[in-house]
Symmetry: C2
Subunit: 205 residues, 2 copies
């Protein structure tokens, strides 16, 4: 199925990835709307004109970064959804997954949190589309749970939105605080999930 691509295309993809990696690094201390094309090529070590062989814009680069960053998040979310057991266990596991994602891909997480409401419209929209897709997946998984009998699909979607937003907020809070804050942030996140779980349990009263 996967045809080994030629030396040429392989090199091109390597450069493309290098551009994206350098951009992600530069975005740790600024936002996409101020990221210069020359700045990126300089960091990679290629000529400015080479940029145009891969992207039309820094906004275009940003959209590509969204796919990459949310691709890795997607696996995490799928894992969090499949999880089974008592709600307290599930909460612990979900929060641990978030913490792990922040630890292993901090730049990706920062990028998403920052550009979600950022100044570059196409990137903002790309993130919005993907997060909505995540929420839909979560809603579907929630619907499969026996605890959700009697729920309307709109209410399931509403609940899923709470979970997704909470995930992003918690991840962002972990990035903002230093390591000494981690424990209390995670404790708060778990308490908030517990609160939502309680609300969920009594939704149909």
């Amino acid at each position: 199925m996967s045809h080994t691509l030629g030396i040429r295309q392989a090199q091109k993809q390597k450069t493309r990835q290098a551009l994206m990696d350098s951009a992600l690094q530069l975005l740790e201390h600024q936002s996409l709307s101020s990221l210069g094309l020359r700045e990126v090529t300089r960091a990679v070590g290629v000529a400015p004109a080479a940029f145009y062989r891969h992207f039309t814009d820094t906004a275009d680069l940003g959209v590509a970064l969204v796919e990459q960053a949310l691709g890795s998040l997607h696996d995490t979310i799928r894992a969090a959804i499949v999880t089974t057991g008592a709600s307290e266990e599930r909460i612990h596991r979900a929060v641990a997954l978030i913490a792990a994602q922040v630890r292993t891909h901090p730049a990706h997480v920062r990028f998403i949190a920052r550009e979600r409401h950022g100044g570059v419209a196409p990137v903002r929209e790309a993130i919005g589309v993907q997060l909505r897709r995540f929420a839909d997946e979560v809603a579907e998984a929630l619907g499969a749970d026996p605890q959700s009998t009697g729920w309307t699909s709109a209410d399931l979607r509403m609940l899923a939105g709470v979970y997704v937003d909470h995930m992003v907020m918690t991840a962002s809070a972990l990035l903002e605080g230093d390591e000494s804050d981690e424990e209390s942030i995670l404790t708060t996140a778990r308490a908030q999930l517990r609160l939502v779980t309680l609300g969920r349990r009594h939704w149909l009263d």
Copy 2:
């Protein structure tokens, strides 16, 4: 107490406010980290060097904008807190207040949502401080409610965090969608608040 300030200081404050207003307008389509000092002075119609009479940096301008934007929000929040009545009424009033704030000060709201996780550290921190202050106020008000007897102050703070985050997210969602989405966004926001209210009611079980 309030000495009428001279013509001179009045003019200075007027220019300063003009700089802030123009900046806020320019920030509708970009983020602070890409906002140029010349860009702002050009929009106001003053010389670039005049900028330094008021701010050292665009970051400095940003911090000033935080105070202004969250000042107006502060009144809204105070109003939302004081509200009384059945929880369903309170939810409707709180959501209506958010919608009103977004309608009357869209640029301020957008600025806060955008720069909350933005690329300019001092501004990010200023927003963080103010939102934490809001959350503390909310927590205090919640503590005064008879429904909160038996709650630890940490749990009250946790709940207040949910409310504040939810407010910002809802406001941002209203900005992102067009007017035709408003009704469904508000409906979802109310449902989410209902969910939290239920969780709150059963917290001590």
